[in-house]
Symmetry: C2
DNA sequence: CATTGTGAAGCCCTTCACAGCT
DNA sequence: AGCTGTGAAGGGCTTCACAATG
């Protein structure tokens, strides 16, 4: 395996994930090569940005008919995907939790949702899209036996803080938090706070701005 | 009304929205003043960052017992909120659409979801959390009569592109796109592409990184 | 001559360091 | 002594400009 550059900027990682999905869809349509400006156009960014990203990961087009779609997909996979699939738990099996679970368990990703937690007795013990639901109260307990790597917090904002310590104790390495309550974790646990209200308020601000 | 600084950086706008929600919860608890380092701690950022943000919007603490919570809430409101509430439509009333709608129509925000679109005949004509569902096929048609400002795309990724032109024609000013298909709009329409897979893949990458 | 790869410049955001205020 | 407000430095990401390549 060729040496993979190890200090890829966050923004580039984000775009690599996006490129890959676009490329996969190109691949399915039988497209074998893309120019940087074509890939860029599909993402609403500049061609230089695409080339810079590929430069950063050390991918080059040997042919001059653009980048080889299949090769690039695999190359990005080598960078983004962990060798073994990562196990994800969804905390909160309301509409959001179900939306995420359903959305995920189609795609053949190196990420899979393997457990869910909820405190609704009607949901505990059931399966949603193939994912079993456990009692939220048992989170700390159950989690020891599962090899969980990431969790997605999809409970109402008021309940988010209750899971902070259990998550730390369980040795979880990454948290995707959809509540409006920002959660801080010790160094070594990656967090992505991702609140929809903030997004919409940001959008609203720039919309307002553009009307002036 | 005092002159509001008009070139607030995107990141600051984001944080202002977050500060406000935290401040509202402080306010409800009867807290009247906060120091920059306290507010910062609640968001896992530095006190300088908070002070810099407040400096950019021109907010100063007259008292030296920290920032006045109530005043700051109102001050941020003057910057973020449009004078009239913005109307939002949700396209796609599956689990995700419902999660968003439910989440929103509690809070007394200057943003409100006023319409939803779906192509499931069982859903059309019904109301979810007080929001009426219209036929997706009639989107372009119906949208003329509603005063819509923003849309949230919560349909399966394959269907996202179908709404691009209707959205442009309807004069929508901002789009929050939850599908994995990035959508480009002409200048003047703000877009936020916001795909969960990308977030998780990013998280996974940095988790993997931290294990080395 | 269209496309790639890249040093250098530019820009934006964060952090440092410190002066000023109470 | 502790907190705020801010010029200046620093760091990271994007864009410019252009040489290299087929």
């Amino acid at each position: 395996m060729a040496a993979i550059p190890s200090n890829i900027p966050e923004k580039t990682v984000e775009r690599l994930s996006e490129y890959r999905r676009t490329l996969l869809s190109c691949y399915e349509q039988g497209i074998t090569h893309v120019f940087s400006h074509v890939l860029a156009g599909m993402h609403g960014i500049t061609a230089v940005q695409v080339r810079r990203d590929l430069m950063l990961i050390g991918f080059t087009s040997d042919a001059k008919k653009g980048y080889d779609v299949k090769e690039l997909i695999d190359f990005i996979g080598n960078i983004l995907d962990s060798p073994e699939p990562l196990n994800i738990a969804v905390i909160g099996m309301g509409h959001l939790g179900q939306a995420i679970t359903k959305y995920f368990n189609d795609k053949g990703l190196k990420l899979r949702i393997t457990a869910a937690f909820d405190n609704d007795p009607q949901k505990i013990g059931r399966e949603y899209f193939g994912v079993p639901v456990y009692a939220a109260d048992d989170f700390e307990h159950e989690v020891d036996e599962m090899e969980l790597n990431l969790v997605i917090i999809a409970v109402p904002s008021e309940a988010a803080a209750d899971y902070r310590l259990p998550i730390i104790n369980a040795g979880i390495k990454g948290v995707l938090n959809f509540t409006s309550k920002p959660l801080n974790f010790p160094l070594g646990i990656a967090v992505e706070n991702y609140d929809i209200t903030t997004l919409l308020e940001k959008l609203a601000y720039f919309v307002k701005d553009s009307e002036v």
